[in-house]
């Protein structure tokens, strides 16, 4: 579709300022490089901290009373459909779509009641925009891993249009003037539709997010408008999102969701997600980890990622270096019983859970 040569010629024009290198060299001569400290990770001596499974009475927390549908949508068979993987090529033979397979398993209700339900915050915040109403139903945030689940609805009695569901089940609003949109601000997130509950006039949206810096989440609903001037002379009109209404919810959980801290805190796992300090564990943050499995005491396992087998059973992942420590957070597509885990496998590193 695009002429590769023209693409290269166009962007080859972009060059760093001439004084970039001299500025860098000036700064590097002011401060010596530190000696590299070799780290040896005592994997075999992993320590575990099992937090209380009992929900605590927390100010500002209201229990979400009927979480069954929400949990089936986030972690069960009502979520995105199962796939053995999709590989497609474009008209020039270049790999276009390369989606590893994923599976969905029914929610274990006993496990859900024990490990997740007590910590889901029932929300009521609502905002309206031109016939559309956004209402937040529930939120679950795990401050230990940073993983979170936001469940909200968008309703319009005249019907809802202007959204897409892609082949991997991901949900998104269509960009275009006059189109409605919702967005979750200041967090990294991916959204899917609860297909079992959504109707033509009301969408139930499941947002998997990663957030560990803010105590509030802001969700917006608005309309995309055409800018009054073209982006450039003779070019297309730009889209702006200047008009919207916001709702803000506080991260209030019914106590700290149970979690395991392993390998001196370099791996933290909760029923909804895992945080891995990959660099500190000796993994290269570039080539990354190609196989992650959570193994249970009964011999079964949950393979989160297996590049060789073209499998990816995670809903959202964020690798970040925003803080001094590089880490990766992945959200699960099923509830993990952390009390029955026997080991976690990261490529050829096996972390025993004792």
């Amino acid at each position: 579709m695009y002429d590769k040569k023209i693409f290269e010629e166009t962007f080859s024009n972009l060059k760093a300022s001439e004084d970039t290198l001299s500025e860098v060299l000036k700064m590097t001569t002011k401060k010596k490089r530190p000696y590299k400290i070799l780290r040896i990770i005592p994997i075999a001596a992993a320590f575990i901290f099992l937090f209380s499974v009992t929900a605590l009475a927390v100010a500002g927390f209201t229990l979400y009373e009927n979480p069954a549908a929400m949990l089936r949508a986030f972690f069960g068979e009502n979520g995105t459909v199962k796939s053995d993987g999709i590989v497609e090529y474009d008209e020039f033979g270049k790999l276009d779509v390369n989606l590893p397979g994923w599976e969905r398993v029914p929610v274990d209700e006993t496990l859900a009641d024990e490990l997740i339900a007590p910590y889901i915050s029932g929300e009521t915040a609502s905002a309206s925009w031109e016939g559309y109403t956004l209402t937040v139903e529930a939120n679950l945030h795990d401050p230990i891993t940073g993983a979170g689940l936001l469940y909200y609805t968008v309703e319009n009695p005249d019907g809802i249009s202007g959204y897409e569901v892609f082949y991997n089940g991901e949900f998104g609003w269509v960009t275009g003037a006059g189109n409605i949109y919702t967005s979750v601000k200041m967090v990294y997130e991916k959204s899917y539709i609860d297909e079992a509950k959504s109707t033509e006039t009301k969408l139930y949206i499941c947002s998997y997010y990663v957030e560990d810096e803010n105590t509030e989440i802001q969700i917006s609903i608005g309309v995309q408008e055409q800018d009054s001037v073209p982006i450039y002379e003779g070019g297309p009109m730009g889209l702006i999102r200047k008009d919207h209404e916001n709702v803000t919810i506080k991260q209030a959980n019914g106590g700290e969701i149970p979690s395991l801290s392993l390998a001196d805190g370099k791996v933290v796992v909760s029923p909804i997600g895992i945080r891995i300090y990959d660099e500190e564990l000796g993994f290269d943050t570039v080539s990354y980890i190609h196989y992650i499995a959570l193994r249970y005491e009964d011999g079964s396992e949950y393979v989160l990622i297996d590049d060789d087998s073209f499998v990816e059973n995670r809903m959202y992942a964020l690798g970040t270096g925003l803080t001094e420590r590089y880490f990766t957070v992945m959200l699960f597509n099923r509830i993990v019983d952390i009390n029955s885990l026997s080991e976690i496998v990261l490529d050829d590193v096996v972390i025993k859970v004792r």
Binding site: F7, A16, N98
Partner: protein
Amino acid sequence: MFTDVQFTQCAQEYMDTVFRVAFSYMKSRADADDITQNVLIKLYYANKEFDGDAHVKHWLIRVTINECKKALLSPWRRSEPIEDYVAALTFETKEHSELFYAVMDLPKKYRVAVFLYYYEDYSTDEISQLLGIPKATVCTHLKRGREKLKINLSEANGYV
């Protein structure tokens, strides 16, 4: 681990790459220059062993993207009209400038994926690793980016 001479050579070789990635993310020359400096300084102090040129480049782009994410959260981020920067560039033909504007008009998440895919020639697997997002999401971003780019270009000059 680099000697100072090796570091200088490496910085010279990759600083434009870092700048392009940063610009595709930030759409601001000033921000992209600042990020380029920060990334090169991180490279200097990283004291890292690399397996080869591809490994260095991959590491630099990964760090650049993290620096861009950090910069986007900063309240001190500068906003500048892209036209001011374009005025300083010399595009060979109208087709080139239209492509540039069309790519820059894409939402950030699509723009970065499209840039890495079509300019840097990375695969969806590699982009997934660079951006720290699932391959499925990269594919979605590329698909949506291509669709929007097609619309932008046809609106501009029928160039598709």
